[in-house]
């Protein structure tokens, strides 16, 4: 019964996280190409603009990740961003205390939106796709009431602090690092972090193991809302205005990003790091196109092709399966 196991620990680790490894390699290659083709090279200026664009989608992808990992989907990610962005355009100016309160309020508003989604899904027993489609309209409606046309202002010092650089390192990359190292890695080792995967992978097994599945699902959607709020907040810092019309693009791109980052839509598989990597890849591709001279109308075509290829590489291990039943596992 004992099979020889000659593989090293490192290889084991890479294999069990191969989706993230693939996404990471793709990202590095793309980034190198981008820096190589950019007329100004790897300057802090270029890197900062790149990192800011990536982090907005990255946070949206984090939001989507929490919904997808529990076998759900959140179609309101973009709408939560739009709403929190519009709220931010009112609250992120004035005294230091007022701005601090504003930032907390913006993120709390996002979490509240997520909590609302979760409550309807858990207690109304309605599928997430239906619930979030409906609430997305509500959130956009509220955003439009707040900002019928783009406008408002965000304190420039605050915005600069969040979107420029610290000692040459883009602040957006520092925030990304904080999300991964200060939040995600510890979170993954908590009962809640484990519960998310258990719920997405097999709800029945999770329930029979004594997990409070309703609370976990509620927590997952609240976290999705919270990260949607963070995305909206950071978007406010980057654009310094409020705009209710940003929802649709971010929702779809957040789904594309998690898929690209190796998060399976069937739930239970993938990591926040993967979702972030997926978002960074998508944005880097878009930036590459901008400088490569491809007509902007052809961009969706190329983005789609790259998406398809990346997913196909992720699924290539199917070819190695020796037992044909494993192909479908």
């Amino acid at each position: 019964m004992v099979r020889p196991r000659g593989k090293s620990h490192m290889l084991d680790y890479m294999r069990s996280n191969r989706r993230e490894v693939i996404a990471g390699v793709v990202l590095i290659v793309l980034l190198a190409t981008y820096i190589g083709t950019h007329p100004r090279g790897a300057s802090t200026y270029v890197m900062t603009i790149w990192a800011n664009q990536c982090l907005i989608l990255g946070l949206a992808a984090c939001a989507q990740f929490f919904a997808v990992v529990v076998r759900g989907i959140d179609l309101s990610v973009g709408a939560v961003m739009a709403l929190t962005n519009c709220i931010g355009s009112y609250l992120l100016d004035g005294s230091a205390f007022g701005m601090a309160f504003g930032m907390v309020a913006v993120v709390a508003a996002g979490a509240l939106c997520g909590l609302l989604n979760g409550l309807i899904i858990v207690f109304g027993r309605i599928q997430p796709i239906v619930v979030t489609l409906a609430t997305a309209s509500i959130f956009i409606g509220l955003a439009l009431l707040l900002r019928p046309t783009p406008g408002g202002a965000v304190n420039y010092d605050l915005a600069d602090g969040a979107t420029l650089d610290v000692l040459g390192i883009p602040t957006a990359l520092i925030i990304t690092g904080l999300v991964v190292f200060a939040f995600w890695l510890p979170f993954r080792r908590t009962g809640l972090g484990l519960g998310l995967y258990a719920l997405g992978s097999s709800e029945q097994a999770a329930f029979q193991s004594g997990i409070d599945t309703r609370f976990i699902r509620l927590a997952a959607f609240t976290l999705a809302g919270l990260f949607g709020g963070l995305a909206g907040l950071f978007y406010s810092f980057v654009t310094t205005t409020g705009d209710a019309g940003i929802a649709a693009g971010f929702t779809l791109n957040s789904i594309a990003a998690v898929v690209l980052g190796g998060v399976l839509l069937r739930g239970g598989v993938g990591t926040l790091v993967g979702a972030l990597a997926g978002a960074f890849i998508l944005k880097t591709i878009a930036s590459l196109m901008f400088f490569s001279g491809i007509p902007s109308l052809a961009q969706p075509l190329f983005e789609g092709l790259i998406l398809a290829i990346a997913i196909a590489i992720g699924g290539a291990d199917v070819l190695r399966a020796r037992n044909k039943l494993e192909v479908f596992a």
Partner: protein, 523 residues
């Protein structure tokens, strides 16, 4: 001794039963799964629960584990009324269930699965307490090669059961429910699990034990309760009634013989299936098997010795398999299940795990029946007449063919898997442990049908983890070890001692240890 400790020791007093159920009923719509059941479970005792599928055993276990709540009745833990409204509450009372439907999360690692719902593991930081216990349990039950970092989805079925056992023991249960907990494990591992369970019992744990294998009940139980039609018909100490009497209680009628009589051996009968030098990736090595018309040929051995892969390979499920297969003298290359079921070959394969590989649980019985015939150009899969005969023959109990397969009991689900393949009139039937976790009565029916099919000329290759089947049902049994056939037994050589010796790959003259002998006393 502090007053608190006194109170605690009072709670364990053997005069107060650990769990007491009074007048418990459980209705699902019009079906009464349990009907006014009184049931008592004492600490320090292994209490076996017997009954056919659908007798209410699993429902009873689910009630105790808090998965479902009774329609009526009262439940006391340590003499105090308790409401078990979720598995979490049941766990708090120390009631731990090892479910027949595995409760492991496939995408998580072994370690993470063990941590899920472990004692003291809430939503906060996981300290990994109890993992040492789990590891030592795994080491004891031959699970040392299961790595903590392995994904559960990558484990074999027996390995998953081993992890389930470790997960249950690590929760330090006061009442441990084993619901078909060892159904996929081989005899030597089962014996080690039993040693562990006996230790738990001697330390004061109450054990509820469900199994369809009589020798397991014989080996482990102190007290036996028999369930029939949602009622507890008898509770008695082990030894008060013999094998035959217990079966009578379970089915409510006499069963003279569990197994049909073997047909006279026909050495000169036509060879239907002839496999030569089958090999695959080092897991199956140079295996040759011949099945003649009218024969049932058994495949035995410990888990994962290549017998399962051999059956899959015959049916075209494995890549890069070597060897030749001839059906009725016609050599053919079987590269896929579609080729295997083609009318010129006409193989049928009943997989090991009916719930994931044999059936689509959410689809109706009708739709499941059609799946095998689809793609056969000579058959109309949509024609209900195709299945009517086999359904009658199998005596499938159902509430309507339009209902989902998941509404059937385990035994009847297996009958659906059989029916869909029998409709194709296969020349050779490959069965991977078809009676695992199925009640005695349905088993008997399936045995009779297999014998009948064999007599009608179907060649049958039967993989089994149950010695009794290999001895009583099969005309010849090949025992696998490390990918090879190490013994081919037939006629008078087909004895428990010889099979055990071969599965352990020792000569039959070698000493067979007492524990193993005890297990097959009934065979």
């Amino acid at each position: 001794m502090s007053p608190l400790e006194l109170e605690v020791s009072d709670m364990f007093d053997s005069t107060t039963p650990l769990l007491e159920m009074q007048d418990i009923s459980m209705h699902f719509g019009a079906t009464k799964a349990l009907d006014g059941v009184d049931f008592v479970c004492k600490a320090g005792e292994v209490h076996a629960v017997l009954g056919e599928n659908g007798a209410g055993k699993s429902t009873l276990m689910k009630l105790i584990a808090g998965v479902i709540q009774p329609t009526q009745g009262r439940l006391r833990v340590d003499g105090k009324e308790a409401s078990l409204n979720s598995p979490k509450t049941a766990l708090k009372h120390g009631l731990v269930c090892m479910f027949q439907e595995l409760s492991l999360v496939p995408d998580l690692t072994v370690r993470e699965n063990l941590l899920l719902g472990a004692p003291g593991a809430g939503l906060g930081w996981l300290k990994g307490r109890g993992l040492d216990t789990a590891q030592s349990v795994l080491d004891r039950i031959d699970g040392a090669d299961i790595k903590m970092s392995q994904r559960v989805a990558d484990l074999t079925l027996p390995q998953r059961q081993q992890v389930e056992i470790a997960k249950a023991i690590m929760k330090k249960p006061r009442l441990l429910i084993l619901d078909e907990a060892t159904s996929a494990l081989s005899a030597s591992v089962v014996e080690k699990v039993f040693d562990l369970v006996r230790e738990e019992r001697d330390a004061g744990t109450a054990v509820l034990f469900i199994s369809h294998r009589f020798h397991e009940i014989e080996a482990l139980a102190d007290r036996i309760s028999v369930f029939r039609n949602g009622q507890c018909v008898a509770t008695f100490a082990k030894g008060a009634h013999d094998y035959g009497e217990i079966i009578d209680m379970m089915v409510g009628q006499k069963i003279e013989e569990l197994f049909p009589e073997k047909s006279p051996h026909r050495n000169e009968a036509e060879v239907v299936l002839d496999v030569r030098n089958f090999s695959w990736e080092g897991q199956v090595r140079d295996v040759s098997v011949t099945v003649r018309q009218g024969e049932i040929v058994g495949l035995g051995g410990l888990d994962g010795q290549g017998q399962g892969a051999f059956l899959m390979g015959l049916f075209g499920l494995l890549r890069k398999a070597d060897g030749t297969t001839a059906i009725s003298g016609q050599p053919g290359e079987i590269k896929s299940p579609k080729a295997a079921k083609h009318q010129d070959v006409a193989l049928a394969y009943i997989p090991e795990d009916r719930k994931t590989e044999g059936l689509i649980l959410d689809q109706s019985i009708e739709e499941n029946l059609e799946l095998a015939a689809l793609g056969r150009s000579d058959l109309n899969a949509g024609d209900a007449g195709l299945y009517a005969g086999t359904l009658d023959q199998l005596a499938l109990k159902h509430g309507g063919l339009h209902l989902p397969v998941s509404s059937l009991s385990g035994g009847n689900q297996q009958k659906v898997v059989l029916a869909k393949w029998l409709a194709l009139k296969p020349r050779c039937l490959l069965l991977a442990d078809p009676t695992r976790g199925i009640d005695v009565k349905t088993k008997t029916e399936i045995y009779a049908i297999l014998r009948q099919l064999a007599d009608q000329g179907t060649a049958i290759l039967l993989l089994s983890t149950d010695y009794e089947e290999l001895i009583q049902l099969c005309d010849e049994t090949h025992v696998f070890f490390n990918g090879e056939i190490v013994a081919s037994l037939s006629g008078d050589d087909l004895t428990p001692q010889n099979i055990i010796a071969a599965t352990l790959n020792v000569s039959s003259e070698g000493r067979v240890n007492g524990a193993t002998e005890g297990q097959v006393a009934h065979a």
